[in-house]
């Protein structure tokens, strides 16, 4: 309802993604390219998921009833599987591409796999967020709000916060996933898949927005901490950073990113 809600929800959902883009991606053209390719891969994964759901609907002849709800749940879970599968495919592609990139641009250092993990995760996240939220946002522009049939009027706010957390989760999952692939730690992949399934399953308990959001944010914090450590952070570096004692530290260490 009205432009205020539209802009508010848009900034809530896409603010952090925009900030990440401006400060870390937009500066380097190669990162932009990898971001867009990541977004495209997510989109293709969703294409296959929708194909699956469409075929399932046709097979059950579009009958109404509880079967549609079960089909939806099945569709979502299959979609999660396909998304993670495409994340793996993207990883393989980047692995193969990294040699090619070295030949194209021998002077500049190629982006490291860790950076590409972050960029691909952000690409997946942005596309996923846009896909999920843009239609709802456009409905928030009119003069009405949700509630004429008894649903909660907090629908827009909740959707915005959910989109935000999913974008951040995709970033963290990307980092953890690629690290797991690099170090052949398949348990990391499994955890990523399971938490993704868990988060998607949690959305089915709406309209109990409270539990939904709180648990998803909790998962995001856990994933964030794990990703931080996987990406090379440590308690010590965090402490040094926060207490602004980093200048001496740098003198004694190589820099590599």
């Amino acid at each position: 309802m009205t432009a205020a809600v539209f802009f508010g929800c848009a900034f809530i959902a896409f603010g952090p993604a925009l900030a990440l883009y401006i400060f870390t991606i937009a500066t380097e053209p190669l990162r932009v390219i990898f971001l867009i390719i990541g977004a495209f891969f997510w989109l293709v994964s969703l294409l296959f998921s929708s194909l699956f759901w469409f075929m399932a609907r046709t097979i059950t002849d579009n009958k109404d009833g509880p079967i549609q709800k079960y089909l939806l749940i099945l569709g979502v879970l299959v979609s999660v599987l396909i998304q993670e599968m495409f994340r793996f495919v993207y990883y393989k592609l980047l692995k193969k591409a990294s040699e090619g990139l070295k030949t194209i641009n021998p002077d500049e250092t190629a982006p490291s796999m860790r950076l590409l993990a972050y960029v691909s995760g952000l690409g997946f996240g942005i596309m996923s967020g846009v896909f999920a939220f843009v239609n709802t946002l456009s409905d928030s522009l009119g003069p009405g709000t949700v509630g004429i049939h008894g649903d909660s009027p907090q629908f827009f706010l909740n959707s915005a916060f959910m989109t935000l957390v999913i974008i951040l989760l995709h970033v963290f999952w990307g980092i953890i996933f690629f690290d797991g692939c690099e170090k052949k730690k398949w348990s990391a992949l499994l955890v990523v898949l399971l938490t993704h399934l868990l988060v998607s399953a949690l959305t089915f308990i709406s309209p109990h927005y409270g539990i939904n959001l709180v648990s998803t944010y909790l998962i995001m914090v856990l994933m964030g901490i794990w990703a931080f450590f996987v990406a090379g952070g440590s308690c010590r570096s965090l402490k040094l950073c926060l207490l602004c004692q980093d200048k001496d530290f740098l003198l004694f260490n190589q820099r590599s990113r």
Partner: protein, 638 residues
């Protein structure tokens, strides 16, 4: 996509797979609409807006803003409820949901002044019709466009002698700046009232809590001020703009006419060929656009004339009658005599085969369905009868009518005294051009018997057309109601009178109108247009014009309207000759004030944006420190 490593070349099989996939995705897009939108809005489908109409000097009707007017719903079931809307309610503007019985001038005057608190009005149809009558038309219909003016017959002008429509409150000729809609479906009205009860009521009269049930009404009108302004703007657009936007359309349609004996359409009639004109009107109106049941004001009259045409055509010596008879059905008479004034104009300019001097006499059917005790009144014009010869002709006309009516005991023709003016009728336009002898037959001697003149309640019930509930539509079609019998008698009188006026003498008593035809016509025009008889007379491609409800007799801007087509084809069927041709041979047709919550959401959004910008900047700046594994130089990046 080709990569430096393994190559994937698109081969024909995978290309067709890609096409199949994209087609499936396209198909999937055509499924049900937006589910979020359904959580917010319920659309109201069976409604009729009040639109803006212009004449040379003024605008009437209603207007909404471009993006629609939104207001909190308030149900007004008695007059006291209006206080909440006008003064007490804390959440203006309001959309008032009004009971049909309260839709009076009194109430509308109160609403008209307070446009800051009213976003719109939705009126529900009153069932049963208001007992005291309801007519949004003016008390003196078509004033100023008939024959009486301050310079000609001043004692009759502006209804000084008789107010023809005393129940008229003139609402339909007022200018409103908010949208007004009619809710035709009772079930939808119930849904809206339920929404109001669920969300908008609060105990002890305090302000109800948000969110509230609101209504958004869209009926934006591009035309403003007057026809002159509007046509000037449209012509500027057509001349200078690449994509011209015409801001108004003329109310136009076609009259339907036919001759008893065939004439040559390409030439003019000789001055000695005399014609008797039988005229009536086809249209009516109401406060709302395209709702015009018009049972008493239009339908009964033209149905009677159709039956009379059928009866007269069956007379054996039609071909040898000395004078011809022209049956004409004027469209647009409601709006300052559009149809009849155009015919008079064409006759004067020589564009019509029949000229004004060919008209010997003029018999018009006014409102004829509500006769008290069998009386049918003959209205004549006093001003033209000041001329002696015209008076003689009118006298002869009235005697002929009385003679023809003598044979029909259920119709009692009555004369009126000389000092009464003509009621609003097409004859007045002809008299403006030339003094001819004419008569208007009506069921009322002074004021209208129609209590719902030009309103939404002028339906089949108003003229006592009703059918037993257990019958099927086909049985209803052929069921002869009492009204049909009465109208058939009037048609018989008219047909016999026309026969005698045309010079026939021998077969007067054999002419009889068929009540069966009358009842089928009444059923089709007033109850259900999509019936087997209408379908059989209409052309194949026009059958979609027949809906499951009654036809609406409003002259719209796109022509010909459904009524014009159906009357034309019915007239052809009833009076035409069956010819032995194949088909191919024959055919060579509410701002909602919740700024607090909105504002909070906006601020939260800004806050999150600014916070994330700041945090990302800091992390980016310190990335060297944060994301480094300091112990093993060289084995860090991979």
């Amino acid at each position: 996509m080709a990569t430096a490593g393994g190559c994937t070349v698109a081969d024909p099989r995978s290309r067709s797979l890609l096409r199949l996939v994209s087609f499936c995705v396209l198909l999937a897009g055509f499924c049900r609409g937006n589910s979020v939108e359904r959580k917010i809005y319920i659309s109201v489908n069976k409604t009729a807006p009040c639109v803006r109409l212009l004449n040379a000097t003024h605008q009437i009707g209603c207007q909404s803003s471009v993006s629609g007017d939104t207001g909190v719903i308030h149900v007004v079931e008695k007059e006291e409820d209006l206080q909440w809307v006008l003064t007490d309610g804390p959440n203006p503007p309001y959309v008032v949901l009004l009971e049909g019985a309260l839709f009076t001038r009194n109430l509308m005057e109160k609403l008209k002044g307070r446009t800051s608190r009213i976003a719109g009005l939705a009126v529900s149809l009153a069932k049963p019709s208001p007992a005291s009558g309801f007519s949004p038309s003016v008390q003196c219909p078509n004033d100023g466009f008939g024959i009486y003016s301050n310079s000609y017959g001043p004692e009759f002008a502006h209804c000084r002698e008789i107010q023809w429509n005393p129940l008229g409150d003139g609402l339909a000729y007022e200018d409103f700046s908010f949208p007004i809609f009619l809710l035709e479906d009772e079930n939808e009205t119930k849904v809206i009232k339920q929404c109001y009860r669920d969300h908008n009521l609060s105990p002890n009269g305090s302000a109800p809590a948000f969110p509230l049930c609101a209504m958004q009404l869209f009926s934006h009108m591009h035309a403003v001020l007057s026809t002159v302004t509007c046509m000037r703007r449209s012509s500027i657009q057509s001349t200078f703009s690449i994509n011209p936007e015409i801001v108004c359309d003329p109310l136009s349609d076609y009259n339907v006419w036919s001759m008893l004996k065939p004439i040559n359409m390409s030439g003019m009639l000789e001055p000695d060929d005399k014609v008797v004109v039988a005229a009536t009107r086809l249209d009516s109106r109401s406060f709302f656009w395209n709702v015009a049941p018009g049972a008493e004001s239009a339908v009964a009259s033209f149905v009677t004339q159709l039956a009379a045409a059928e009866a007269l055509q069956k007379a054996p010596d039609v071909a040898t009658l000395p004078r011809n008879v022209m049956f004409v059905f004027f469209q647009g008479e409601t709006f300052d005599y559009i149809g009849s004034s155009r015919m008079v104009y064409d006759m004067e300019k020589g564009k019509f085969p029949v000229q004004l001097e060919n008209i010997e006499s003029f018999v018009e059917l006014g409102q004829v369905a509500l006769r008290n005790s069998l009386e049918l009144w003959m209205h004549t014009d006093p001003m033209s009868q000041k001329n002696g010869s015209i008076q003689n002709q009118v006298e002869a006309l009235l005697s002929t009518l009385e003679r023809s009516g003598a044979g029909v005991p259920t119709v009692a023709l009555r004369r009126l005294n000389q000092s009464q003016p003509l009621p609003p009728s097409s004859l007045q336009r002809f008299l403006r051009a030339r003094n001819i002898s004419g008569v208007v037959l009506a069921d009322h001697s002074t004021v209208f018997h129609n209590h719902y003149y030009q309103s939404i309640y002028d339906t089949a019930e108003n003229i006592n057309v009703s059918y037993p509930e257990w019958q099927s539509p086909e049985e209803d079609l052929n069921f002869v109601t009492d009204t049909a019998k009465a109208l058939a008698d009037v048609a018989t009188v008219l047909a016999r009178a026309l026969y005698q006026l045309a010079g026939g003498t021998n077969f007067t008593d054999a002419i009889q109108a068929d009540a069966h035809t009358v009842t089928r016509l009444l059923y089709g025009f007033l109850v259900r247009a999509n019936n087997s008889w209408f379908q059989s007379v209409l052309r194949q491609d026009l059958r979609s014009y027949l809906g499951d409800g009654p036809l609406q007799h409003y002259i719209a801007v796109s022509s010909p309207t459904n009524t014009t087509y159906v009357v034309q084809y019915a007239l052809a069927n009833l009076t035409g000759q069956v010819v032995d041709l194949t088909r191919e041979q024959c055919q060579d047709p509410s701002k909602v004030p919740s700024e607090n919550k909105d504002f909070v959401t906006l601020m939260v959004g800004f806050g999150i944006l600014v916070f994330s910008l700041a945090v990302t900047y800091c992390i980016n700046a310190k990335a060297d420190v944060l994301f480094i594994a300091p112990r093993e130089p060289g084995a860090v990046s991979y």
